[in-house]
Subunit: 324 residues, 3 copies
C-alpha cells in the first residue's frame, strides 16, 4: 500500500489503520536505541518537507516537525501567512504549486474546509505532484488527530483483547469538536464498540453524524446527560473542551453551564480501575490537572502517540514504510 | 573562480554565467537519484546559513532554504525584524556582524537599496567575514532572480542553438520591475539578442536602462505598445506583473488600463509553437491560469530553476563547486 | 558530572566552570577542520531541541540554535507565543509538558522570573523529563550570558596568569542589568578579583548584590562615579547599556545624563595596553564603534564565545561531554 495523500479520516479502511498502527509501533521501538534512531534518520535525509500552517497550532505543528526530523527530513515552515506572497495578490493554488517545486512533501493546516482536497487535486494534474497531508482544515477535518486518538485506544486495550467490544465515553462539546466526529466514524471499523455520548443537550452530536452512526453495522451508541453513570461504565473516557472560539457565532452557547461535565479527581474512585482517560488537548477546566498523576491518565502518552503516528504516515507517503 | 559575495547582477561576466549554469545542470542531474542527493547532502553538513529576510518573500525564502538543505546545510532564519534586537536600538551593522559570528553564510533580503554591499564591505574588514547573498534589496537589485530567468532562457533554447539571435519580448510594468532591468542587462552578454519591450506608455523602461542598452554592443531593442505583434514575433515572452505596491507613490498609475497587455489562452494560437512563456511570479491577471496546461508555459520550471541556480551559487560561495 | 538542567548562574561551582570552559575550548578546536566539525555533527543527530522564546532575543536565539546545529541536532522553534495554543487557554505547564513529548531538550526564554525552575520541577515529576536551559527569564536570570562573559574573561587572561588577582571594571546600568549581577557573583569563585562598579549614582548596584559581595571571601569591590580613574585601573572593562525598556516603571531615570560613562576612542590611550573591552551587546552610544578596530576590543570574540559555551552546555546536558 502507500497513500498518495492524507486528506480525511474517511479514506482509511481497517487494513490501512492496522498497517499504520503496526508501523507506528515499530518506529516507537527504534526510538529506544541510538542505532534505531540513526536508522530512522537515514531514511529520508535527502527529502524536504514544508509545513504550511496558515492557522496556528503549536501542538500539531511541533509533532509533525518532529516526525519529519525523526526520519531525517529537512523542514521549511510558514506559520504566518502574512509573510507570504498572498500579499502580492497570489492565489493559494499558485503559492502551493510553487512550494511543490521546492519540497517533497507539504503538510498544511488552514481554516478553509476542503482546501487540502482542492490543492491535492490541482497538484495531481502537474508533473511535480507531491503528497499533501491535511493537518487540520478549520471545523472540517483533522485526520491525523483521529488516527492518533484511535491508535492510543488500540494500544491502551492491547492487554485487554483489543478495542472490539469496548465502551468509549465521549464527553463535552460533541456538537462542534471535529475530533469526536472523526474518531466516532473510525470506531465503526471495529466490532461491537459502544459509544456513550455524554454532554449538555445543547452540545449533542450533529444530526448527520447520528444518521451515519445509525447506519453503521458494528457500532451502538447512546446519548445522555448523565455524567456519573457514563464515566462509571466506560472502558475509556474521551474528554473534550468546549470549542468556544466558535461561540461568537452563537452567543447563547456561552451561557451554558458545563461544569457538571468536568472530570475531577473526586470522580476517580468511580472509574473502572482499567479505564483510560484521553483528551485531544489543549484542556481547560474540563479535565482537572490533579488527575495527571493517576495511572489511568493516558493523555500525555496520547500526545506522544501523535508524533509516532505522524512519523508512520510520512514514512508511508514517502515510500519507506516497507523498509522499516 | 569562486565569488566572495553575490551582491548584484552586474558582477557576472559571461564565463561566470556559463560556469554557474553548468553547475546548476550538474546539481539538477544529481537530483535524479538518492545516491546523487546524498552526495550533495554530504558537501556542507558542517556549515550553517542564516536567512535574514526583513522584507517578506516566501518564494525567494523557500527556494534559498531548500538550496541550503540540498547541500546539507543547517539553516537559521529571521523573517520578522521585530523579533530582532533592533528593538533595543542596535544598528543593522552590529546585528549582521553578530550573525556572522554564528553562521558561515548570510542570505539577506531587505527593503533598503545598497544594504548588502554595505554589510559585505563591513564584514570584509573583520576577521570573521562570511559570504553575503543579496536575495533582493527593495526596488534595487535581485541578482539571483535575474540569474534564474537567464538560466531558464538558456535551457529553453538548448535545442534551438542557444540564446544568441533570439527575440525576447518583455511585457508589463517595465518601468518599475527590477527583474526586467537586471535580465535585460545580462542579455547584453549574448550575441544578437533582440528585446521587444511591450507596455503601456506609462510603464516604459526607465531612461537610464535605455541609455545602457543603447551603448551595449550585442543587443538591439524596440519599445512598443503593440501587444499582438510583439508576442507573435517572440521566441520567449517574459510577462511581469504591475508593481502596484509602489502605486501609493504615484496614484495616477492606478488608473491605467493594462488589460490589453494580459496574456490569455486566446492568444496561444498566435505564438510560435516553440515560444517559451516565462513569468517571475507571483502573477495576477496578466497571465491567465488557463495557459498553465500549454506546453509552452515555462514558468513552473522557471521557479524550480530558482532552486537549482541558488544551490549552484551557494556551492560556489562555499567553495565546493569544484567537487560537484 | 552532567547537569540535569541549567537554570541559574548560582548552580555553578568552580569545578563546573572549569569543566565547561575546557569543553568549550575543545569544541572550538574541532571547529578548525572539516573532520572536527563532522565529528561534532555526529554526536547528536538523533536528538531534537526546541527553542521556546516567548520574549524576543535574536542574539541568544541564534547562538543557541547554532550550538544545536554544531552538535547535529534538529531544532524546532517558537518565537511568537501568539502562534501557540495558549490562545486556546492552555497553561504554560501543559504547553511545555506537551513540547517535552516531542523533543529531547528545551531551551526557553521568557519574561517571567522563576518560570524555568517551575517547569523543570514539573517535568522532573513526569516520565518524560527533558533538560531545560534558561535562556533568560526577564530581569531575573540569564545564566548562559554570565557563563560566556566569564569564559571570555578567563580566555582573555590566559597568558597573564588567569583571572585571579585581576581588576574588572563594570560600567553603566549596574542597577538593572542582570548580566552585571550574575557575572559579579560568578567572579567570587576566583581568588582576589577586584571589581570597580562605575556608574551614575542612580544606577548603582542593588543592595542585595552589595550584601552578597560583602559576605564573599575572595572578592573586593568599590563603587565609584569616577569613570576616568576606573577605566585606567582596569584589566578588563565590562560596558553595559542602559536598560531603558524598564524606564516606563520609573520615568525619572530617563532624565539622567549617562554620557560621561560612554567609552569612546578618545579614552583608548588611557587604558592599559593589555586591557580587554567587553560588552554583552547590543550596544548603543555607550560604546563607540570606532573602538571596534582596536585590538583590545573583545566583544566580538565574546559573542562568538556565546556559541561555544552554549555548545558545551548542551553537550553536557545531553551526556556527550565525555566523548568530546
Amino acid at each position: 500500500m502507500g497513500f498518495a495523500h492524507v486528506l480525511n479520516s474517511g479514506q482509511f479502511q481497517l487494513p490501512d489503520l492496522q498497517q499504520l498502527f503496526k508501523l507506528s509501533d515499530k518506529i516507537r521501538a527504534y526510538n529506544d536505541t541510538k542505532d534505531g534512531l540513526m536508522f530512522l534518520q537515514g531514511l529520508l535525509p535527502h527529502k524536504r518537507a514544508m509545513l504550511f500552517f496558515s492557522q496556528p497550532s503549536t501542538r500539531t505543528f511541533l509533532s509533525f516537525q518532529s516526525a519529519c526530523h525523526i526520519l531525517g527530513m529537512h523542514t521549511s515552515e510558514i506559520r504566518d501567512p502574512s509573510t507570504s506572497s498572498e500579499k502580492k495578490g497570489e492565489t493559494i493554488e499558485d503559492s502551493l504549486r510553487t512550494f511543490s517545486s521546492y519540497v517533497d512533501l507539504i503538510i498544511m493546516r488552514s481554516p478553509t474546509p476542503g482546501l487540502c482536497e482542492r490543492i491535492a487535486a490541482m497538484l495531481d494534474n502537474t508533473k511535480s505532484a507531491v503528497p499533501i497531508i491535511n493537518a487540520g482544515s478549520g471545523p472540517d477535518e483533522h485526520p491525523t488527530q483521529a488516527l492518533l486518538d484511535l491508535y492510543t485506544l488500540e494500544r491502551s486495550f492491547k492487554e485487554q483483547g483489543g478495542l472490539a467490544g469496548k465502551t468509549i465515553c465521549m464527553v463535552g462539546d460533541l456538537k462542534r469538536g471535529r475530533t469526536v466526529r472523526s474518531l466516532s466514524l473510525l470506531l465503526t471499523h471495529y466490532k461491537d464498540v459502544t459509544i456513550i455520548f455524554c454532554s449538555p443537550p445543547e452540545f449533542k452530536i450533529a444530526s448527520d453524524l447520528r444518521t451515519r452512526l445509525e447506519k453503521a453495522k458494528h457500532i451502538s451508541f447512546i446519548e445522555t446527560t448523565n455524567f456519573q453513570d457514563s464515566i462509571a461504565a466506560a472502558d475509556a473516557i474521551y474528554m473534550t473542551r468546549i470549542q468556544d472560539e466558535y461561540d461568537a457565532l452563537d452567543p447563547s452557547l456561552q451561557q451554558i453551564d458545563t461544569t457538571k461535565f468536568n472530570l475531577t479527581a473526586a470522580h476517580l474512585p468511580q472509574l473502572k480501575t482499567t479505564c483510560k482517560i484521553l483528551h485531544p488537548m489543549p484542556r481547560r477546566k474540563e479535565l482537572d490537572t490533579k488527575i495527571d498523576a493517576d495511572p489511568r491518565a493516558t493523555y500525555w502518552q496520547q500526545q506522544r502517540n501523535g508524533m509516532w503516528i505522524r512519523t508512520a504516515i510520512i514514512a508511508n507517503l514517502m515510500g519507506v514504510a516497507d523498509v522499516i
